[in-house]
């Protein structure tokens, strides 16, 4: 099957791959299987750890910007029900689009927020370490304190610094 592909089309799409975040992997297919072999268990690794840091980050950033859930949902053009789950249920896996929109609204690197949300593999072990530290320093129940504000600002700096 012959396909007509212009140079312009190929390069435009290649640049869009870069714009999307060059560290986004492009792949598809079941992770375990060869079609000739039936595996008795999935090769997908169980992910036991909840996205505590991601939900905490979203909550604090929202409060830092003095936004209600409704206002944030409206500003970021995301479903409010998902925002509630992100903040309240650390086991919730967010939609990729939601994370993308939140990154735009909070002006933090999309790729890093995707990694924090568990939607993409962290390429820097420091992000995981800093996320845990941030989650440990921030308390979701209390009002945004000076310490929470300092922790949030420090973590935002880390997200922006990491290559």
């Amino acid at each position: 099957m012959k396909i007509e592909l212009t140079k312009e089309w190929c390069l435009q799409m290649a640049r869009m791959e870069i714009d999307a975040g060059a560290d986004i992997e492009i792949g598809a297919g079941p992770v375990a299987a060869d079609p000739t072999i039936r595996y008795s268990e999935s090769a997908m690794e169980h992910v036991p750890d909840p996205n505590i840091a991601f939900g905490r980050f979203v909550r604090l950033m929202r409060r830092h910007h003095h936004l209600t859930l409704e206002k944030l949902a409206e500003d970021a053009d995301v479903e409010i029900t998902e925002l509630v789950e992100i903040e309240d249920d650390s086991r919730h896996k967010p939609e990729p689009r939601t994370v993308y929109q939140l990154a735009k609204r909070f002006q933090v690197p999309t790729t890093k927020l995707l990694q924090l949300a568990g939607l993409s593999a962290p390429k820097d072990a420091r992000l995981v370490h800093e996320a845990i530290r941030f989650a440990a320093r921030s308390d979701p129940v209390e009002e945004l304190s000076e310490n929470e504000r300092a922790a949030l600002e420090a973590f935002v700096s880390v997200l922006s610094e990491l290559q």
Partner: protein, 211 residues
Amino acid sequence: MNVEISSAFLLDVATGQALEAELWDAITERQLADWEGEWTPALMQAIQNLNRAGIERRFWPQSRHWDWRRKADAFKGLLSKPGFSVMCQDMTQGMMIVDTLSAARLSSQTGKPLVYIEFLENAPWNRKGLVLAEPRFQGVGSLLMRAAIELSLNEDFKGRIGLHSLPQSDTWYANTCGMTDLGVDAQKEGLRYFEMTPEQSQAFINKGNQP
């Protein structure tokens, strides 16, 4: 095997230059030899580095167990399971196997035939941070997606395609490709299932034609 080769281009990330490439409508011994001799050693070295860096296994390349020779052998001769590959600088840069006997699940397209992408993989050196700090070439994924769409059009499936995304690729399919996310498929190892309607496939093609 009668192979049709289409001219294409990839972007050399380091130089920003366009490089001549080829889109093959097959996976032949040549591609499999590259997979065995180049992809696999590079991938194994990358995994060793990840392991030594203490990165958890759940973040390792999720296609690391794939055996392209077994996949190709299993589907050899099946007209409903064509393969595609991307070549550049005399090396295989990407491979894909599709299925033409699947049907759409999206409510507006339910039951209509589509091209289902069984497996799609980019060469290890084209994935940022895996082998090289920056990808060597960009554009491989787009070429393979275009091939799937063109096959769908050729089969009179109107450009409909579907796939189960590797988790690390969810954002690409959702945002850049503009596919519809039908959610987690418990029957497919919890992977997210995406589909592209005829309109979405035309929009994907049009993206590359924008000035």
